[in-house]
Amino acid sequence: MKEWLKKHDTLYFMLTNKRFVGGMIFILSMVTLAILGPWLAKIELRWYLENGVKEALDPTANIGIPYSPPSSQHWLGTNSFGQDVFLQLVYGLRSSLLIGIIGGGLATFIGLVVGFVSGYSGGMIDELLMMLTNIMLVIPTMAVLIIIAAYLPYRGVMIESVIIGFTGWPWTARAVRSETLSLKSRGFVHLARISAVKPMRIIFGEIAPNMLSYVFMVFILQFGGSILAAVGLDFIGLGPTRGTSLGLMLQQAVLWNAIQLGMWWWIIPPGAIITALVAALYTVNTGLDEAFNPKLREM
């Protein structure tokens, strides 16, 4: 009875947790903005569309007058080339979210698999996998990303997500391993073993479901981490070779002296949207932590 109440308490605490709900609302509105962006841009750039400027919805097209501050025609102004900042922003947001999902998802997935296998099997496999994990942990992943990206002649959002995913998993693996270790010594795992349940089914049928809330939190952190890693890479100049992204926007802003020229509309929005998005993800994570962990609940 007590435990049953607790189960529903978690849901209750989740939905009454201001951090969780607030963060979630913001993230969902960002997702909506990314999805509806081009449609909004149609309203914004109606003048160009009506006048037959076909490339008006291409974020790399130089359609407007360079250096224009925000106006009704260009909601967030134009940059030094006359590209529309708002248009770039919504497309950049799209790629950021995509990278977050793919990169974060991949990192979470690899981390989970390595952590489960390492923690459950123990012995030599565990030693080797943990060695690998520790090595990956001490190598500065950004440096690896840089060197890989630098030699790739063509880079798309996909490739970027994949290399971020492949370098971001170690801490997840370590955390999942220690969680698995503690679950592994529980009676129900022993009981499954003496029911002749196969190891893979024990991992995914008995151990993994107990970590669902934890995995969800890990994914959220990886999501935010991937977005940050990607904008960093873009900013260095190793982002997607085609299209636009939030990091790329900022790189160009710095290269073309937007700071010195005081073009705040080119500088502030891309960074602010990343910051807000990542902060919202962190906030959701703390909210979840409070909901899942009774010790942190505020009565």
């Binding site: 009875m1 109440l5 009565m299």
Partner: protein, 317 residues
Amino acid sequence: MDILKVDDLKVYYKTLRGSVKAIDGVTFTIRKGEVLGIAGESGCGKSTLVNFFVLPKEPMYHAGGSVILEDKDITKLSKDELRKIRYEKISIIPQYSMDALSPTKKIRVIIRDIMREHGRHVDYRLVEERLEMVNLSKRVLDMYPVELSGGMRQRATMVVSTLLNPKILIADEITSALDVSTQKFVIEMLMGFMEKKIVDSMVFITHDLSILYQIATRVMILYAGKVVEIGPMEEVIKRPVHPYTKALLYSLPEMNVRFKEKRLEGIPGHPPHLLNPPRGCRFHDRCPIAKNRCEEEEPPMIKVGEDHYVYCWEVKA
């Protein structure tokens, strides 16, 4: 002489679905020079009682009754006043005494810091003397808790807890995680503290009646947040009166019974949930002699012998 008087104490827990009445109207006293044993099964309210004395924290709250220590009702004291009483008057050896000491501080430092909190300086001669009482060398002082075994840490904690010669020492389930041989040493050390008058009185909390029998002068048996029987240890064990006490004693495999010769029986049923405890006697649905009245009205306190009281409708004085 009574050191502490608890009268109709009620301690509840706030939850989303109402109050859990973990201690619901408990009356007893602690006398000078005695070891009061408090026994009961899980959920009877033992740990609530302990925590109410040493660490009253949300969501626990005081829902009624008084606790008089030296003419002062400690339920009415401010946080700071309470802080002074702890350790000096009421001290505890906690259930987790094997890891009660911070792992990254030397034991000497821990002792110094806690004493300083109460405005005292450490008399290391005394500390060494006490360490010797529990079979620890003075070298322990300059060690980190991680360097000691679990048993040594527990004994170091025993020394720390009693340095200020508290009036009342609460020993909270300190033997339940121990092996039989170690249980005995620990209890002998506690008795040493009593003999040397380091502590005036002791409250020994456990679920194990046979251990309690080795140390306690009086015993109080709790069931579902209420006292069912209280009296001299020897008498309660030899002549239990309350049906719960009787059933409990009968269910204990002692070293004189074998399954093949005599079959013991447990108590059927479960303790009630304390969010909505039943009316009347809380034991009535498991009680072999319960009558209708037991379901309706709270049982009265009946004196059944010298200093021996029972809360039951079906018992004659």
